[in-house]
Symmetry: C2
Subunit: 449 residues, 2 copies
Amino acid sequence: MERIKPRTLSGFMELLPQKQAQFERMTEILRTTYGLYGFAPLDTPAIEDAQILLAKGGGETEKQIYRFQKGDNDLALRFDLTVPLAKYVALHANELAFPFRRFQISKVYRGERAQRGRFREFYQADIDIIGDTKLDILNEAEIPAIIYRAFTGFGLSRFQIRVNNRKILNGFYAMQSLSEQSGDVMRTVDKLDKIGAEKVRKILTEDLQISPEKADAVLSFIAIRGTNEQVLTALEGYRGQNELFDKGLDELNAVTRNLSAFGVPENNFAVDLTIARGLDYYTGTVYETTLLDHPEIGSVCSGGRYDDLAGYYTDRQLPGVGISIGLTRLFYVLDEQGLLNPELPCAPADVLVLPMTEDIAPAISLAESLRSQGIRVQLYGEQKKFKQKMSYADKLGVPFIILLGEDELAQSKCAVKNMVTGEQVLLTADEAAAHILSGKYTGPIILEN
Amino acid sequence: MERIKPRTLSGFMELLPQKQAQFERMTEILRTTYGLYGFAPLDTPAIEDAQILLAKGGGETEKQIYRFQKGDNDLALRFDLTVPLAKYVALHANELAFPFRRFQISKVYRGERAQRGRFREFYQADIDIIGDTKLDILNEAEIPAIIYRAFTGFGLSRFQIRVNNRKILNGFYAMQSLSEQSGDVMRTVDKLDKIGAEKVRKILTEDLQISPEKADAVLSFIAIRGTNEQVLTALEGYRGQNELFDKGLDELNAVTRNLSAFGVPENNFAVDLTIARGLDYYTGTVYETTLLDHPEIGSVCSGGRYDDLAGYYTDRQLPGVGISIGLTRLFYVLDEQGLLNPELPCAPADVLVLPMTEDIAPAISLAESLRSQGIRVQLYGEQKKFKQKMSYADKLGVPFIILLGEDELAQSKCAVKNMVTGEQVLLTADEAAAHILSGKYTGPIILEN
């Protein structure tokens, strides 16, 4: 037979079983966390009508999208989870209860230039809360608690949720009569950390033709730093000059006020006036999340408040707030950085049962009894030498094996061997179950250095 | 703004949140069950190189496949999970431990003619055990236990796992010197239930030109029915005439012998000589699973033993055994038949917390405390009339609500209302958690009539 060389397309993540087990754990933590906050799981098609996906149209998206014909249909693979959500909510608005909270952890597709750490197929893990006409600020205040619970669930502690409010930014630029240039100004200011204040000032005054006074005002506004308390106090100094600004400050206060009730430590939260997140879509609170020891990764969980989710599909006003985690990239980076806890067992089974007798019925019964107690059991039936069986157990990385020979059967017991410590004990089936369950390693997924 | 009418492509399942919750439960049961038998979760790309996906080539597959160009790449969406598994195992063979057990629950794509109950995007839930050169019969014997645990996990009891062995069929046809016509004969015999024995005999003797004696031999072989014991005994009558047949009978005995150790009741299992499952791929045990009260659905879980998983990609001999559940179709049919348990709460939250005071910090703290105990809590912050809040709770279908007003706060308690019984009790936070957890309805997903 002529053979075709097997390969996986570049830009597509395909993990070996042990890595996959770690990835699944991260997914599971997100599912659980999102569930604890009352988000319903949603699953939309990966393929949509291209006209619908591209309603917003233009730009990078159109170039990157996987688009194709099938019969008379102009189809495309989703490139994010927000557009399909907008379509879903517009389509089913009369059947949904608002606020509508959904999470979706699904693959999206972007035909970007292949590059190390860039993926063409990757998971996004999104939550959104959609209101009908209105949406209370409490929903925006709750988002940092969700991020905090998810990231601590991963085992991380050295991360920071950075929050700003677009109304504050837009209000401030309106005060300075810089609204029309606010896009250019924000993009310039974004480079502050890289090029320094002097160069920013130069670009503002020379390239953008902004007066030195206004450039200084912008620089001193952006320079507001300190504890959340200090930043909020400094912002109060601007109150009363612009209605939008004042509203934004009220919202920022509301988002910050209940942090301790939400269980989010001050350490993991910062009001940061440099966060802007794009120009048009977000209209209120915006979020970014950075790993303190890995600023080079950039934000690993971002989002914000928007006023109009589905304007391309419906005249119904659907404001919302949402965040997205680029899970594939996050996992890739954590793995690259060596942060995945190597102690965590990644075997597909908690125990490998090795029958050592002709009649394997007792081994089967034992395996089924352990399974009924929630233990993941692999029954090993291959005719191999004992040494090969042990080598297989090692390769899988199972934490326990059970040996069941004539001696053990005669005593109605089984020999349970801990593969880490080497300790071997003779136990009844129920004792073995308890022994295996209590011996489960339950450390964090991620180990910070 | 010009609006585009939102729609979901025909043949693509998109569920409302409550239905989605039920679907997720079925998926979860499969994940757990497959996990209990030591299968590792696997996730392969939805897009593969078209040359690789179509290595086997030809036929219906090629017509149905979603295939498209992106840059210079000839790409296609997977149409099943077996071909990607074959590629994966061939590609990573040196890094895997054999036997390699994996499960994958993923969407596959087939551009079939749209038709009620037919999907173009649908989930398959597959398990496979792949051996390196050899694979013990114990793996084949274990499959019915997995099917049994999964289907009883759904809440089903009226189902039957039907098992046959291709070696018995091929061996029998060899005995009758009908090997070359065995495909045609099996296809004819397959119509037995529909057209009756007389017509089958007519086709065999007239269309296929088989002698009346052989036709009768085929009919009487296929007519072997009864308990597993009776069928196996009848098959012993053919022993000694063909080596392949004898090997198949040994295998069928091995698969049947330990059923009770595996915990599979006789009722849910039948040796059935009419099961054949395609012609070339399967080489040993074959499985089908039918719902006894819904034979019109056909098999809902099928598979078998094969000798050569990845011959198109590697010269390594990789025998295996696997089964597949067409989960989207199964769910669709169960829903259509009204079998999804309507009592099962499908709300995204276990409790909706309604703050009734100006300061919402206590409600937030309560919500976080309940979440830390594993309770799914939605905090409701919208400024609405009480009646509207209750109507929202009803629409979501939450089993409990918590009211937190000044009176409750003064006593450090909260009012927990059971939305099914209407009963309302005043409890501390910890009591509320215990009350909600103990009040969780935990019936089966599927209710048989």
